[in-house]
């Protein structure tokens, strides 16, 4: 505590950046998505081919086979949950955490409408669609400067677009394509099949979106490390984030 007090005198301001709902959802979602990726790859091993259209089995032409990536045609155990082959265990993990993901996202969306997180932090502003501003943002990222010194609490445009993509596009898509693979849900909501062009198309899109989410995680972790791993991680645990020192504020108190 004493250390903190000394630091507080010399360090720039701290900002309460992430509210409780955001932090809770972040960690619940992080666990869910990682478990879903691992168990999903386990399930893929049961039939490691993807097709377009309504049907697709051994006599049909796949557009993707795991053998294109891994020579033995199986996703290796270090990427799957569980690590040994078990379709039933993979499905139990997957279908349990799918519920956590789906209802977690729903709760986060409701909470973020109520606490105005979406409106304040994710609403698209004019600058977010300006090519000039976006180009500037890219240059700033390449220089490893991620925060506008004048408005350090704001998400930068690329960050905003990434979160919008994940929260409003990728996660809903992965949930809906997952539901489209359920024969029960096909009877309840037959429009799902029309929306995605058939069950095997939905399965393919499910996999593509899952890989996009895996890509997001990699970039996200890389940027957390580059932006300052302790400051960023702490802000997602306690909510408090220290404004980076490499570009001090002009009107430092």
């Amino acid at each position: 505590m004493a250390n903190d007090a000394i630091e507080a005198q010399t360090a720039p301001a701290r900002i309460y950046r992430h509210r409780l709902a955001t932090r809770l959802w972040h960690w619940i979602n992080a666990v869910s998505v990682i478990v879903l990726l691992g168990s999903g790859l386990m399930i893929l091993n049961a039939h490691p081919h993807l097709y377009w259209g309504e049907f697709g089995a051994n006599f049909d032409e796949p557009w993707f086979s795991v053998s294109m990536v891994f020579a033995d045609g199986r996703v290796p155990g270090w990427l799957t949950i569980p690590s040994n082959y078990s379709l039933s265990a993979g499905r139990r993990w997957h279908l349990f955490f799918a519920l956590v993901l789906g209802f977690g996202l729903l709760a986060f969306m409701v909470a973020s409408l109520i606490n105005r997180h979406f409106k304040r932090d994710l609403r698209v502003a004019r600058e977010d669609v300006s090519p000039k501003h976006l180009a500037h943002d890219v240059r700033e990222h390449l220089a490893l400067r991620f925060h506008d010194p004048k408005r350090p609490a704001r998400y930068n445009s690329l960050q905003k677009w990434s979160y919008i993509l994940v929260v409003f596009v990728l996660l809903p898509l992965v949930i809906l394509t997952g539901l489209t693979m359920s024969p029960g849900m096909n009877a309840a909501w037959p429009w799902l099949l029309d929306l995605f062009g058939g069950r095997q198309s939905a399965r393919s899109i499910h996999f593509i979106v899952a890989m996009a989410l895996a890509g997001f995680i990699v970039v996200h972790l890389a940027l957390v490390i580059l932006a300052g791993v302790w400051n960023e991680t702490r802000s997602m645990i306690t909510g408090w984030w220290r404004v980076p020192e490499h570009r001090p504020l002009e009107d430092k108190p």
Partner: protein, 250 residues
């Protein structure tokens, strides 16, 4: 940068530890019990969302798979089945017993003489593949109405003529699926008499669930109050042997 390298190494170790942790959790009976609650939740949710009589999609003839993959048992072992097949299943009977007021023993001629429903539906294997085919046979509800279920009957168990690794195949469904309009005892496929790889002479079609529920080579339908006393007690061959979910609507 050394600091960052440490962080990346830490993340890698963390990821490895995470997987090892998942494996350990996977071995824990308590945690597996928790995961199984997911199956209960999915069943409850789907029963809430899906109208009892909501139909599985039916397809046009031009949407059918060129080749329908046969799966599981392709030909039951044993002389009894071979003799039945040699006689074109003229002597095959399905008995309907258990908690019924009027036990039945139906010949294939009797089953083929019943009003039949034809449906072109998609067969979804738990492994992930799908094939579309046409199935023809009487609604299971017609047979159950004739057998008159007793009030205590909650499940229908399908006893099959095939064995896998020496264990008899069986499956079970509840009354919601048993009385569903598309739940039929199919004796024809793609406008031809059902072939041996697909479950000859008669198989169950339960279109809102995955493939392993669609029992082939059915020789007995038993109405029961509980699944506990049958075979491994989990309501089906794959449920007993490999811990597949009993509810396979997802």
């Amino acid at each position: 940068m050394i600091h960052r390298r440490k962080v990346i190494a830490g993340l890698a170790v963390g990821a490895g530890g995470l997987l090892a942790g998942c494996d350990r959790l996977n071995e824990s009976e308590g945690f597996r019990g928790l995961l199984r609650r997911g199956e209960d939740a999915n069943l409850a949710l789907q029963r809430l969302l899906i109208n009892r009589n909501a139909l599985a999609r039916e397809y046009r003839p031009d949407q059918m798979s060129p080749i329908f993959r046969a799966n599981g048992t392709r030909r039951p072992e044993g002389e009894a089945y071979a003799a039945q097949a040699a006689a074109n299943f003229a002597n095959w009977r399905i008995t309907v017993d258990g908690l019924v007021a009027n036990p039945l023993s139906l010949s294939m001629d009797q089953i083929r003489a019943m009003p039949a429903r034809s449906q072109i539906t998609r067969h979804d294997c738990v492994e992930g593949w799908s094939a579309i085919g046409k199935w023809t046979g009487p609604r299971l509800s017609l047979i159950l109405d004739a057998a008159r279920l007793q009030p205590a009957a909650s499940y229908l168990v399908f006893h099959c003529a095939d064995t896998l690794d020496g264990r008899p195949y069986y499956e079970s469904i509840d009354l919601v699926d048993a009385f569903h309009p598309q739940t039929i005892m199919a004796w024809a496929m793609n406008d031809r008499v059902l072939g041996v790889p697909y479950g000859a002479p008669v198989r169950l079609r339960v279109e809102r669930q995955l493939g392993y529920k669609h029992a082939k080579y059915v020789e007995r339908i038993e109405a029961v109050a509980s699944l506990d006393a049958l075979y491994g007690g989990k309501g089906g061959y794959w449920e007993d042997v490999a811990d597949y979910e009993w509810y396979a609507g997802i």
